[in-house]
Each structure stands twice: as structure tokens, then as C-alpha cells.
């Protein structure tokens, strides 16, 4: 097998291994299964086309996420319209973190994720759900790592407040508006 074929085969294997993470990141960004898979498939094609630009030894997952993220924003309003309710993901209703007395309702978590500005949502997803370092996430998002930290902090605070509010009787829209007002006062 020629060297370039072997490299291509390895590259392809790495891509296939990263598909689940790619799909999950896309789902987190747009909140819609079909659109997320479309975006992930396009990202795979673009990655394959740009494979010569990948530097071996660097973070392959972060490189693929960068391509997906850029494609997500390039398709504009269709992708930016986050669907805050994904029944397939939210059908499981409760999860309890270990060693904590905190109950998390997936539905509240999803709605909280949905009300975040896109730049905070992607920062939170990259750091907390996908395990990227702040530096890796900064490379994906094209901003300083300090900005990533700030966005993650604001996102976390907003979701915590949203989930606190969701436990009360306020309708989700009012809670979201209240959280936004609170955040804008803090920023």
C-alpha cells in the first residue's frame, strides 16, 4: 500500500472514531438531530478535503470541531435557530451527580442550554461536555482562552439560575428573560 494510501486510511479511521463526538457537539450546537447530522456530515467532507492541512501530532478532535463549528456558523440563521427542546434527549428526566444532593432535570438543562447566546453555548459544550482544554477550545472558537473561561463562567451561571428558576412556578419564557436581565446587570 503506498504511503499516502496508508495515511489516508489512518486519517479515515481517526475521522470515523471521532464521529460520535462530532455528532454530539453538533447536536449541542443546534439542538436538532437531522440538522446536527447534516452539519456533521458536511464537516466530515470538508475535513477530508482539507486533510493535507492537518498537522499530525496536534489535536485531531479539536481540528474537526473547528471545521464543524465554522460550517455551523456559515450556514447562518437556519443553524442559529436553536431548538430548545429535543424530546429524544430529554426523555430521561433526572440525573444526580455523584456525592451531591443536586438533582438535574435534563429538560431544564436543555432549555437552559437553549437560552444561552451561541458563543456561550459552544464554550460550555467544548469545555464541559467534550473535555477540551481552554486552550483547545480557544483554538476552535478563534478567541483567547481567557474569553473562553469568561464565556463558560457566564454560561454556567446562567444555566444554574435558569434551573433554579425552572424549579419555581415561573413559565420558562419569564425565567429566561429574568436570567438575561440578571446577566446583563452583572456583565
Amino acid at each position: 500500500m503506498p504511503a499516502d494510501s496508508a495515511d489516508d486510511a489512518r486519517f479515515r479511521a481517526d475521522m470515523v472514531a471521532t464521529i460520535p463526538s462530532l455528532r454530539a457537539f453538533a447536536r449541542g450546537l443546534c439542538g436538532n438531530r437531522e440538522l446536527a447530522d447534516d452539519i456533521a456530515q458536511e464537516a466530515l467532507l470538508k475535513a477530508w478535503a482539507a486533510r493535507a492541512s492537518f498537522s499530525p501530532g496536534t489535536n485531531f478532535k479539536a481540528w474537526l470541531f473547528t471545521i464543524l463549528r465554522n460550517h455551523f456558523y456559515s450556514i447562518g440563521r437556519r443553524a442559529a435557530r436553536f431548538a430548545p427542546w429535543d424530546p429524544e434527549l430529554a426523555e430521561r428526566t433526572l440525573v444526580t451527580p455523584p456525592d451531591q444532593g443536586v438533582n438535574i432535570h435534563f429538560s431544564d438543562l436543555q432549555r437552559g442550554l437553549g437560552m444561552l447566546p451561541p458563543e456561550q453555548r459552544e464554550a460550555l459544550l467544548l469545555i464541559t461536555a467534550n473535555g477540551l482544554s481552554y486552550e483547545e477550545a480557544a483554538a476552535v472558537m478563534g478567541c483567547p482562552s481567557g474569553t473562553v473561561k469568561s464565556r463558560v463562567g457566564r454560561a454556567r451561571l446562567a444555566i444554574m439560575k435558569f434551573m433554579d428558576g425552572a424549579a419555581a412556578v415561573s413559565p420558562p419564557g419569564e425565567v429566561a428573560a429574568g436570567v438575561r436581565r440578571d446577566i446583563s446587570r452583572r456583565v
Partner: protein, 75 residues
């Protein structure tokens, strides 16, 4: 414990980060939220796309023509 992990060198950083994330209810919830997608088998259409790209590339190579660097012609 955190102080000992930080003092033990750069190799300890991922462990510290991981533990911090697990202790964070938001991170824990998000990881659990997307866990089913991570555990799903890769859908056939994803593999089919890569197969079609490979097939197109092979066809062009065998024909002696220029290889579309994107490998995505006709997709």
C-alpha cells in the same frame, strides 16, 4: 488533594480537570445528556459518505485524471 495534584507536574492536570468537571453538576449533566449519542453506533449514512468519497477518488486515480482534492465530486 488538589494541591498535591497540582504539585505533581503537568501529567496531573487532566485528572484534576476531569475531577473538577465531574464535581460540577452542569458538566455532569451535559455529559449525561449527550452520552446516548456518544454510545450510538455510527450511522450508516456517515460511513456511506466516506465510502463514496473513497470510491470517487479511486475512480479518478485509475482513470489517470486529476484527483479532486476534496474527493467530494458528485456528492
Amino acid at each position: 488533594m488538589d494541591r498535591r495534584q497540582k504539585a505533581s507536574g503537568s501529567g496531573a492536570a487532566p485528572v484534576t480537570r476531569s475531577r473538577r468537571r465531574t464535581a460540577d453538576p452542569i458538566a455532569f449533566g451535559l455529559q449525561k445528556l449527550f452520552e446516548p449519542i456518544l454510545n450510538e453506533p455510527v450511522p450508516d449514512e456517515f460511513l456511506a459518505i466516506l465510502d463514496r468519497v473513497d470510491a470517487e477518488r479511486d475512480r479518478r486515480t485509475q482513470a489517470g485524471g486529476p484527483v479532486d482534492p476534496s474527493g467530494s465530486a458528485g456528492l
